[in-house]
C-alpha cells in the first residue's frame, strides 16, 4: 500500500449562516485507504464531502487531490471532479429515463473514455444481462449496485460515499457494503464513506470521527473486514 496522500486537507474552515461548521481542519488521506467518517448530525460530514468534491468552496484553507490544488473556480473544479472522483449517494440518484448501461456509461462519456468498461462494470456488481433495463425495474439494492458501478467505472482516484446504505434494509445494506469494499479494493481507489451506521463504518480500514476539534481516529476497524 502506497503512503502517498491522495487527499490533503489544510486548515479548512467553513461557516454556514453564521455557524462555524468546520474550523481549521487538516488531514492527509493515504492512497488506497478506505476510510469511514462518523459524527453527530450537523458536525459537518456532508459539508466536508461537498468541499472535497468541489461542490462548495472553503472560506479558508486548501484542498489537494493527488497533489493538485482543488480550484475554487467552478469549471476547473468540475473537470477535476469528473476525472478523479466517484460518488455514491444515499438516494442512489440514477437517471430514470436512461437504461442501466447508459447510467453507468455517464462518467465514461463525460471523460471521453471507451464505453466497453460499462457492461463489465455492471457484470461486476451482479447486474449482467440487465443492461437495457430501466431504473424503475430495479429494487433499492439493485439501484445502489448501479450507483457503485457508475462511481467506479472511470477508475477514479477517490470515491466519496454519503450514507450509501441509508435507504436500504439491513441485509441489503450488508451486501452493498461488501460490494463497495470489494470493488474499491479491486480498483485500487481510495474511499471516504460518511455514515451514521457503525456497521457500515466497520467495513472501512479506518474510522474517523468528525467533531468541532477536527478529524480524529474513532477506533480501529475489525481485522476480519480488512483485506
Amino acid at each position: 500500500m502506497s503512503l502517498t496522500p491522495v487527499l490533503e486537507l489544510h486548515k479548512i474552515s467553513k461557516t454556514y449562516a453564521g455557524r462555524q461548521v468546520l474550523s481549521g481542519l487538516s488531514y492527509r488521506f493515504t492512497a488506497g485507504e478506505y476510510i469511514a467518517i462518523m459524527g453527530e448530525s450537523g458536525a459537518g460530514k456532508s459539508t466536508l464531502l461537498n468541499l472535497i468534491a468541489g461542490l462548495d468552496s472553503p472560506d479558508s484553507g486548501e484542498i489537494r487531490i493527488e497533489g493538485e490544488v482543488l480550484p475554487v473556480e467552478d469549471e476547473a473544479a468540475t473537470l477535476l471532479r469528473r476525472r478523479h472522483l466517484g460518488f455514491i449517494f444515499q438516494a442512489f440518484h440514477v437517471l430514470p429515463h436512461l437504461t442501466l448501461l447508459q447510467n453507468v456509461s455517464l462518467p465514461l462519456l463525460l471523460n471521453r473514455l471507451p464505453l466497453d468498461r460499462a457492461p463489465a462494470m455492471l457484470a461486476a456488481v451482479g447486474l449482467q444481462g440487465r443492461e437495457q433495463d430501466f431504473p424503475h425495474q430495479l429494487s433499492g439494492g439493485e439501484l445502489q449496485r448501479v450507483a457503485v458501478a457508475r462511481a467506479l467505472v472511470h477508475h477514479p482516484r477517490l470515491i466519496l460515499a454519503d450514507e450509501p446504505t441509508g435507504n436500504l434494509d439491513q441485509d441489503t445494506a450488508g451486501e452493498i457494503l461488501r460490494l463497495i469494499r470489494t470493488e474499491i479494493k479491486t480498483s485500487g481507489a481510495s474511499a471516504i464513506i460518511v455514515t451514521h451506521s457503525h456497521t457500515a463504518a466497520e467495513t472501512a480500514d479506518k474510522i474517523l470521527k468528525l467533531d468541532s476539534y477536527g478529524l480524529a481516529p474513532f477506533h480501529s476497524a475489525q481485522p476480519e473486514n480488512r483485506q
Binding site: S46, N50, D56, F87
Partner: protein, 849 residues
C-alpha cells in the same frame, strides 16, 4: 463540449419520457410559425402580383397623369403631347365592365378593358398591343374588336373570332374577340381595344382615365413632375410605378399586420408553454440535473443541454410550421383568394412563390422564441448549487426567481400608458405593445397575486370546519404559489386571449349589425353593374324604377371613387338625399352634427366617415376641398359617421349638390320603400321586367344584411381560425402544465398515502386544487382579457381600420368558455392525480421517481 452520444441519450430520454409535453410544445410553435408564414406568403403573392400587373399596364412610362376622379376631359392629351420635356404621350381609357355571364358563379365579376391609341401605345406600352389575325390587320382599330389576355380568354372560354358580352350600368356591349395579348403578365385578366371605339361603345366620348408620359432624355424627372403638378392643379395626380406599389401595400397593410399579430399571439402562447414546461421540467429533474453536475458536467454544458432540449423542439416545430404554412397558404389562396376574404385584391390570381429569406426569418423566429422561453429556467438549473439540489424539498427555490412584483408593476403601468399613445405610421404599434406589456405584467404579478389570494383564503378557513382536504389544498396553493402560478400562467394566457377575442369579435359583429340596420332603412336595394364613375342608370331608367306602382319612395345614390392621396387607396364619394335637419336618419353619426343653421350659406355640407378623421384629419365644422368638380369646390364637414364598409374613407353629400356641381345625373344605386301591403316578390318581378332588368342586382334588406354579415364572418374567418388555435393551444397548455406539475409531486402523494390518506382523498384534493387554481386563473384571465379587449376595441381597431365600435359583452359565450376551461382543468387535474397517486406507495417516497 458534451459528447454527442450523451447529449443524444439525455435528449431522447427526456423526450421519450414526456412525450405529451414535447408534442404540445412542438404543436404550439408549429402553429405560430405556420400562421405567420402563411399570412406572409399570401400577402407577398398578392402584392407582388398586384404590383407586377400595375407595372405591366404602365409599360415603360416615366409618369402617369390621372385625375382625382376616374376620368377627365381628353383635351389635356394634346396639351401634354406638346409639353416641353415630353417625348411620348399615350392616352388610356380604362373601363371596369361587368360580366353578366359570370354573375351566377362569382360575386361582382369584372373585366378591365383598356382603350388605347395603338400608334402611341406602341412606344410606351408595347406589351398591350393586340395581335390580330393575319388577314385582319385592321382589327386593332375596329370598333367592335377586343383583344383578350390569355387569362381572360381562359376565363371566358373563348377563342379568336368568338364574342363576349360586358356591361356598364344598364347598358350591355357585345364585342368580337379579334385576337390575344400574348405578352401581358401571366394571370392578368384584361382586354384591350381601340380608344375611340371604347369611348363610343361605353358612352365615354371625350373622356380619358390616364395619360402615360415618356420623358425626353436628360429631363430631370423630379423637377418635371413638380412643374407639371403645379400646372395641372389639384384635380390631377401624377404617379410613378413606385406610388402604385406603395398604394397596393397600404391597401392591405392594417389587415395584414393584424393577422400577423394574431399569429405572433399563437407563437407567444407557444413560447409560454415552452417556458412553463421547462420550469416544471427543471423542477422535476432538479436532482437529476444536479447529479449530472456532480458527475462532471459543467454549467455551460448543462445550460447547452437544456437549451438544446427546447431548441430542438423549436427547430422541429418551426420546420413543421414552415411546411404547414406553405400548404395553408396554397389552400387559402385557392379557396379564399389573396386577401383571405377581405376583398382588397379582386380579380387577381396570384401564385405562391418560394421565399427562402422569409422562411429563414420565421424559422429563426420560432426557434428563437422557443430558446428565449427556456432561457430563464435553464439558466437557473445550470447555476444552482448541485449539493442542496440533490436533496428533495429544494424545488421551490427555483420559483423564487419567478417572483417579480416590481417588473409586474412596471409592465402594467407602461401598458396602461402605451394604450393612450397615438398610432405610428398609421399602425397601432403602441396598442400592440400595451397588450404585450399587460400580458407580461400579469404573468409576472401572478405568483404574487396568487400567494396573496390563497394566503387570505387560507387565513379565512377554519381548519376544524373546512376539512383536511380543503385546508391542505388551499395551504399548498398559498405556500407554493410560485409553482401554482406556472400552471396558472397557461390558463391566464389562453383564457385572457380567448376572452379578449370573444369580446372584440362580438362587439364588432353587433356594431356592424346595428350599423346595417341604420344604413339600410329601405325595403329593397338596387345596384347597377357599374364600376368606377362610369355610366350608371340614366334619367329615363331612374324614372322607370321610380315609376313601379308599388314603390312609395325612391332614394337614388351616386357612388364614385376619388383619389385624394396617390399613396393611399381611393376614398368613396356617396351622393344621396340627406335630411339636413336630421342626417342621423340615414347616417350613423358618431357625434353632434352641424344643424342647417350652423352651415354658412355659401358652403356645401358633407358628412365624413371616421376614416376621414384619422387619415385626412377631417373634423366637424372644418372646411375642406374635394377636387371632383371643376373648379375644385370647398365644403364644410357637417358631421362624422361610422362606416364599416369603406375603411379607406368615404364622404356623403346631397345628391342635388353633387348634380349641380358636376352635371353628372347618373346614379349607381337605388333604395326603394314599398307601399303598405305591397308584395316584395311582385315588385322584384316588375323591376326584372324593365328593359334593363337583367342588369339589375336586386336585394331585399334582410338579404343585404345577411350577405354583409356573411362577408363579415368571411373576413374574420382567419381570425376565428386563430382564435380556435389559441383556445386549443391554451387547453393543451393547461393539460400539460397540470400533468407535469402533478408528476413533480409524486413523492408528496406517496408520503400522504403513508400517513393514511386514501387514493380517493388524494384525487379529491388534487381536483379541488385544480378547480380553485383554475377558478382564480379564469377570474384573472377574465379581467386581463377584458382589459386587452378594451385596447383592441378602442385603440387597435380604430387606429388600424379607422372605425369605432361599441363594447358588447358576450356573457353566454364567456360563461361557456369559462366552464370549458374549468372543466378541462379539473378533468386534467383529476386524471393527472390518478396517474400520480396510483403508483407504488413505497417507491413514491424514494428520490429517484
Amino acid at each position: 463540449m458534451t459528447p454527442a452520444l450523451l447529449t443524444r441519450w439525455l435528449l431522447l430520454g427526456e423526450w421519450h419520457s414526456h412525450r405529451l409535453q414535447s408534442i404540445v410544445a412542438v404543436l404550439a410553435i408549429m402553429l405560430g410559425v405556420a400562421l405567420g408564414f402563411t399570412i406572409h406568403l399570401i400577402n407577398t403573392a398578392a402584392v407582388t402580383e398586384f404590383s407586377t400587373a400595375t407595372r405591366s399596364l404602365s409599360g415603360t412610362s416615366d409618369l402617369t397623369v390621372r385625375a382625382v376622379r376616374t376620368t377627365f376631359d381628353e383635351s389635356l392629351y394634346p396639351a401634354l403631347m406638346h409639353h416641353t420635356g415630353v417625348a411620348q404621350a399615350s392616352p388610356v381609357l380604362e373601363i371596369t365592365a361587368g360580366v353578366p355571364a359570370k354573375t351566377k358563379t362569382m360575386h361582382n365579376p369584372v373585366l378591365t378593358i383598356l382603350g388605347l391609341d395603338v400608334f402611341r401605345a406602341a412606344a410606351v406600352t408595347p406589351d398591350l398591343i393586340g395581335v390580330p389575325a393575319e388577314d385582319k390587320r385592321m382589327d386593332t382599330l375596329a370598333d367592335d374588336a377586343v383583344f383578350l389576355s390569355p387569362a381572360a380568354m381562359e376565363w371566358f372560354a373563348v377563342k379568336q373570332g368568338d364574342s363576349i358580352e360586358v356591361s356598364t350600368g344598364a347598358k350591355q356591349v357585345k364585342l368580337r374577340v379579334a385576337g390575344g395579348l400574348t405578352r401581358v403578365h401571366a394571370g392578368q385578366r384584361i382586354a384591350v381595344m381601340d380608344i375611340g371605339a371604347a369611348q363610343w361603345r361605353f358612352d365615354q366620348i371625350g373622356r380619358l382615365s390616364r395619360i402615360e408620359l415618356k420623358l425626353q432624355q436628360g429631363v430631370d424627372h423630379h423637377a418635371f413632375r413638380a412643374t407639371l403638378d403645379k400646372e395641372l392643379g389639384p384635380s390631377f395626380l401624377l404617379t410613378e410605378s413606385e406610388d402604385d406599389d406603395i398604394r397596393a401595400r397600404n391597401m392591405s397593410r392594417a389587415y395584414r399586420v393584424n393577422l400577423n399579430i394574431l399569429a405572433l399571439v399563437a407563437l407567444f402562447t407557444g413560447a409560454f408553454l415552452i417556458f412553463s414546461g421547462q420550469v416544471l421540467s427543471t423542477i422535476r429533474r432538479r436532482s437529476q440535473l444536479a447529479l449530472l453536475r456532480v458527475l462532471g458536467m459543467t454549467r455551460r454544458q448543462l445550460l447547452r443541454q437544456l437549451l438544446l432540449e427546447s431548441g430542438s423542439l423549436g427547430i422541429l416545430g418551426s420546420l413543421l410550421g414552415l411546411a404547414l404554412g406553405y400548404l395553408l397558404a396554397a389552400t387559402a389562396l385557392h379557396h379564399l383568394g389573396a386577401d383571405l376574404g377581405a376583398g382588397f385584391f379582386p380579380g387577381l390570381e396570384p401564385r405562391l412563390h418560394p421565399d427562402p429569406l422569409a422562411a429563414l426569418f420565421y424559422f429563426l423566429l420560432g426557434t428563437g422564441v422557443t430558446i428565449a422561453g427556456s432561457l430563464l429556467p435553464a439558466w437557473e438549473a445550470a447555476h444552482t448549487h448541485p449539493a442542496p439540489a440533490l436533496k428533495s424539498g429544494s424545488e421551490y427555490t427555483v420559483l423564487a426567481a419567478l417572483r417579480a412584483p416590481r417588473l409586474a408593476a412596471v409592465c402594467l403601468l407602461a401598458g396602461i400608458l402605451f394604450s393612450g399613445l397615438p398610432p405610428v405610421n398609421d399602425l397601432p404599434v403602441f396598442g400592440y405593445l400595451a397588450v404585450v406589456l399587460l400580458l407580461v405584467g400579469s404573468m409576472a404579478a401572478l405568483p404574487y397575486l396568487c400567494g396573496l389570494f390563497f394566503s387570505a383564503l387560507s387565513h379565512a378557513l377554519n381548519p376544524g370546519r373546512s376539512g383536511v382536504l380543503t385546508v391542505l389544498a388551499v395551504t399548498r396553493l398559498s405556500n407554493a404559489s410560485g409553482l401554482a402560478a406556472v400552471a396558472l400562467g397557461g390558463i391566464l394566457v389562453s383564457f385572457s386571449l380567448m376572452v379578449a377575442m370573444a369580446i372584440m369579435v362580438a362587439s364588432f359583429r353587433i356594431s356592424v349589425d346595428d350599423w346595417l340596420t341604420r344604413v339600410l332603412p329601405a325595403d329593397l336595394y338596387l345596384h347597377s353593374t357599374i364600376h368606377q364613375d362610369m355610366r350608371g342608370f340614366i334619367r329615363d331608367e331612374q324614372q322607370a324604377i321610380a315609376g313601379i306602382p308599388a314603390v312609395e319612395r325612391t332614394d337614388f345614390i351616386r357612388s364614385i371613387p376619388l383619389t385624394l392621396d396617390p399613396a393611399r387607396p381611393n376614398i368613396t364619394l356617396l351622393a344621396r338625399p340627406i335630411d339636413e335637419n336630421n342626417p342621423g336618419l340615414i347616417l350613423p353619426l358618431t357625434g353632434v352634427a352641424l344643424s342647417p343653421g350652423d352651415i354658412p350659406p355659401d358652403t356645401i355640407p358633407i358628412w365624413a366617415s371616421e376614416a376621414m378623421v384619422d387619415l385626412y384629419g377631417y373634423q366637424t365644422g372644418m372646411r375642406v376641398t374635394l377636387p371632383f368638380a371643376d373648379p375644385a369646390q370647398s365644403f364644410i364637414v357637417a358631421g362624422i359617421w361610422r362606416d364599416y364598409g369603406r375603411m379607406f374613407g368615404a364622404v356623403q353629400m346631397q345628391l342635388s349638390d353633387y348634380r349641380n356641381l358636376t352635371g353628372d345625373d347618373h346614379i349607381s344605386d337605388a333604395a326603394l320603400w314599398l307601399k303598405k301591403g305591397a308584395v316584395t316578390d311582385t315588385v322584384i318581378a316588375s323591376l326584372k321586367a324593365l328593359p334593363f332588368g337583367n342588369t339589375l342586382e336586386i336585394m331585399e334588406t334582410g338579404r343585404v344584411r345577411a350577405v354583409a354579415l356573411k362577408q363579415f364572418d368571411r373576413s374574420f374567418a382567419v381570425t376565428y381560425l386563430l382564435e380556435l388555435v389559441a383556445i386549443g393551444v391554451g387547453l393543451m397548455g393547461v393539460a400539460a402544465s397540470f400533468s407535469a406539475q402533478t408528476l413533480t409531486r409524486v413523492r408528496e402523494f406517496g408520503m400522504l398515502r403513508h400517513i393514511g390518506f386514501s387514493k380517493r382523498q388524494i384525487y379529491r384534493m388534487l381536483t379541488l386544487e385544480g378547480g380553485l387554481l383554475s377558478g382564480f386563473g379564469i377570474a384573472a384571465g377574465f379581467l386581463l382579457g377584458t382589459g386587452i379587449s378594451l385596447i383592441l376595441i378602442f385603440i387597435i381597431n380604430p387606429q388600424s381600420f379607422h372605425w369605432s365600435m361599441q363594447l358588447h359583452m358576450p356573457w353566454t359565450w364567456l360563461l361557456l368558455m369559462a366552464l370549458a376551461v374549468l372543466g378541462a382543468a379539473a378533468t386534467t387535474a383529476f386524471s393527472a392525480s390518478r396517474r400520480a397517486a396510483s403508483g407504488n406507495v413505497i417507491r413514491a417516497v424514494r428520490e429517484d421517481w
